[in-house]
């Protein structure tokens, strides 16, 4: 099995290199003093000047703040709606229009964003014509659009958690005298909470990162961070962006690594407990 191991290691090595070299290169050149970004200015580098400039850039900072607000709101909205949809599709048996709901919670996963962007923009315009709301486009319309396309992801995550659930747990609760509402809040919800949380984080990332849909449904004065970044990088490379990218990568990396370590520790504790239980007298 040794050559198997070698094959596996080299594939993974190459693959991970492919995934990470661009990111690392981007981070590396954020310390480059040259405006040309990729031409290393050996005399004056490494430097932190781009990072300093970043924090003085009000436009970018403002856009970042808008993005955070929108992402937090949409993630929360998507978490609620997505969980309800996931619950309905997994636990509620057949009902009229179920196929449509299922389709509407799967399609956003693959649908090109330009199509969704155009569709929602036209909706907002038509609504404004008919009932005067929403007045112009801005944070509200972006948030609504983001909730709509991210809730599908939450639904998928919740659905797959619910599917792997032991049905008998809910039946047992019913049998013991709990009404269906109580069963949901005391049994189902606590047990799917981890899935809801990861759904929230997924929705947050998707919203925070979104360029296309935001461009279509935003209005004057409501520029999100990705929109700002996009307008800058269309023109070519920019060292500010490298600095920004590095910060974001570091934040995300810390978060992911921390949560993985935490989860591993939980798993190990649990495995130990289960092992202890097995060796107990029955």
């Amino acid at each position: 099995m040794n050559d198997r191991g070698l094959f596996r290691k080299s594939i993974l090595g190459l693959g991970l290199a492919f995934l990470y070299i661009p990111i690392l290169s981007m981070m590396f050149f954020s310390l480059n003093n040259s405006r040309l970004v990729t031409v290393w200015d050996a005399e004056n580098s490494p430097t932190l000047r781009w990072y300093v400039r970043l924090f003085e850039n009000e436009q970018l900072l403002g856009a970042a703040w808008i993005s955070i607000k929108i992402a937090a709101l949409s993630a929360s909205g998507a978490a609620i709606l997505g969980t309800l949809a996931g619950l309905v599709l997994t636990r509620f048996g057949p009902f009229r229009g179920r196929a449509l709901l299922s389709a509407m919670t799967t399609a956003p996963l693959v649908m090109p964003e330009v199509i969704m962007g155009i569709a929602m923009l036209l909706l907002f315009v038509a609504l404004e014509q008919m009932i005067g709301w929403p007045e112009g486009r801005g944070l509200l319309t972006i948030t609504i659009a983001h909730v709509t396309f991210t809730m599908a992801y939450v639904t998928v995550v919740v659905q797959s958690r619910l599917a792997g659930f032991d049905d008998a747990l809910e039946e047992a609760a019913l049998d013991l005298g709990a009404k269906p509402v109580t069963v949901f809040f005391k049994i189902t919800l606590p047990l799917i909470m981890p899935a809801i949380v990861s759904g929230w984080m997924l929705a947050f990332t998707l919203s925070w990162d979104d360029v296309v849909i935001s461009q279509f449904v935003s209005g004057p004065g409501s520029s999100t961070l990705p929109m700002e970044i996009f307008s800058r990088v269309r023109r070519g490379v920019s060292p500010d962006i490298n600095a920004l990218a590095t910060i974001m990568v570091l934040i995300v990396a810390t978060g992911v690594v921390a949560s993985t370590i935490w989860m591993k520790r939980q798993e190990r504790k649990r495995a130990l407990e289960e092992q202890m239980a097995r060796s107990d007298t029955p």
């Binding site: 609504i144 925070w208 490379v237």
Partner: protein, 307 residues
């Protein structure tokens, strides 16, 4: 033949309808209806003033008549002008090639992870997913820095003496392929991994026992069994790739656009909303079959994981 208790408890019709209703109405209002509106506008006449399209059905006071003005010309434009047909075909081609390469790179990686020790698997998955959590936009931007004329790749090759002049890597088909493969790789690896991980390894042992070498065993056992994963991964990459906007904008050719960029240009540039809508509907129709296929796959996966 068990069904969940909630479907049999009839006394709960009221709150049950509420729970179904909330997400349903939201999606109807903000996802389904918009497409109907796009369809409607695709049949409208363009109007230079707000909102940019003329109403389909109008009550004209003076003549006391209902005027219905359908414009099929928008669709004719689609077929007539080679710009659109060419762009559709080009986009499909780019998406297909990218999907192919994504599969070629992603399958071995997914396989390698699935066959690793369980303890390493989670670490590897985390490493694969980590880039996904960082900004998609920024990762595409990273390739601009790598591929441009005085970018990292060219500078390195020049410094090593492997080439005399910088290669043209940016603003080419190649750059778009790289961009798509790079950005969508996790979407290919995850469904493949999820499928491969469930394979019963004793099947391969049985095949070996019956005289099949490792290659034969792979092609006759593993590959067919991983088909659902392959299909899912390919759909997850191909469908959105056709309509990609960011990647061709930053990395792609300037003489040949993809449908996503054309759509955006029609919308914001030419402000011709009816035609843009027609293009959007056209794109949707082209993608309808793959989208339905994907939905069928999702359903089946979910059923399979329920007991």
């Amino acid at each position: 033949m068990r069904r969940s208790f909630l479907s049999t408890v009839k006394s709960w019709s009221q709150p049950r309808n509420l729970v179904i209703g909330v997400p349903y109405l939201w999606l109807l209002a903000f996802f389904a209806i918009p497409f109907v509106i796009v369809l409607k506008i695709s049949f409208s006449w363009m109007q230079p003033i707000q909102p940019g399209y003329a109403p389909l059905i109008e009550w004209v006071e003076e003549t006391r008549r209902l005027v219905v003005s359908f414009n099929f010309d928008n669709y004719q434009v689609l077929i007539r002008e080679s710009l659109y047909v060419d762009t559709f075909l080009y986009s499909a081609k780019v998406a297909a090639v990218s999907t192919f390469w994504c599969l070629l790179i992603g399958y071995p990686m997914a396989y390698a992870i699935a066959r690793s020790k369980p303890s390493t698997r989670n670490l590897l998955l985390m490493l694969i997913i980590l880039p996904f959590w960082t900004s998609f936009l920024l990762r595409v931007y990273a390739w601009v820095g790598l591929l441009k004329t005085n970018g990292v790749i060219n500078n390195t090759l020049l410094a090593m003496g492997l080439i005399d002049e910088p290669l043209t890597l940016l603003y080419t088909d190649f750059a778009v392929y790289v961009g798509i493969v790079y950005s969508y790789l996790p979407f290919m690896i995850l469904p493949l991994y999820s499928n491969l991980e469930k394979h019963d390894l004793t099947l391969l042992e049985a095949a070996a026992d019956l005289g099949a070498g490792p290659f034969k065993a792979f092609f006759k056992v593993t590959l067919p069994l991983s088909m659902p994963g392959i299909v899912a991964g390919c759909l997850l990459v191909f469908i959105p790739a056709v309509g990609e906007f960011v990647i061709p904008s930053l990395l792609g050719r300037t003489d040949q656009l993809m449908i996503g960029t054309v759509l955006s240009a029609q919308f914001f540039g030419a402000r011709n909303w009816p035609v843009a809508s027609a293009v959007a509907i056209g794109l949707l129709l082209v993608l309808l079959l793959p989208i339905l296929l994907f939905q069928r796959y999702q359903q089946r996966e979910l059923e399979a994981s329920r007991r």
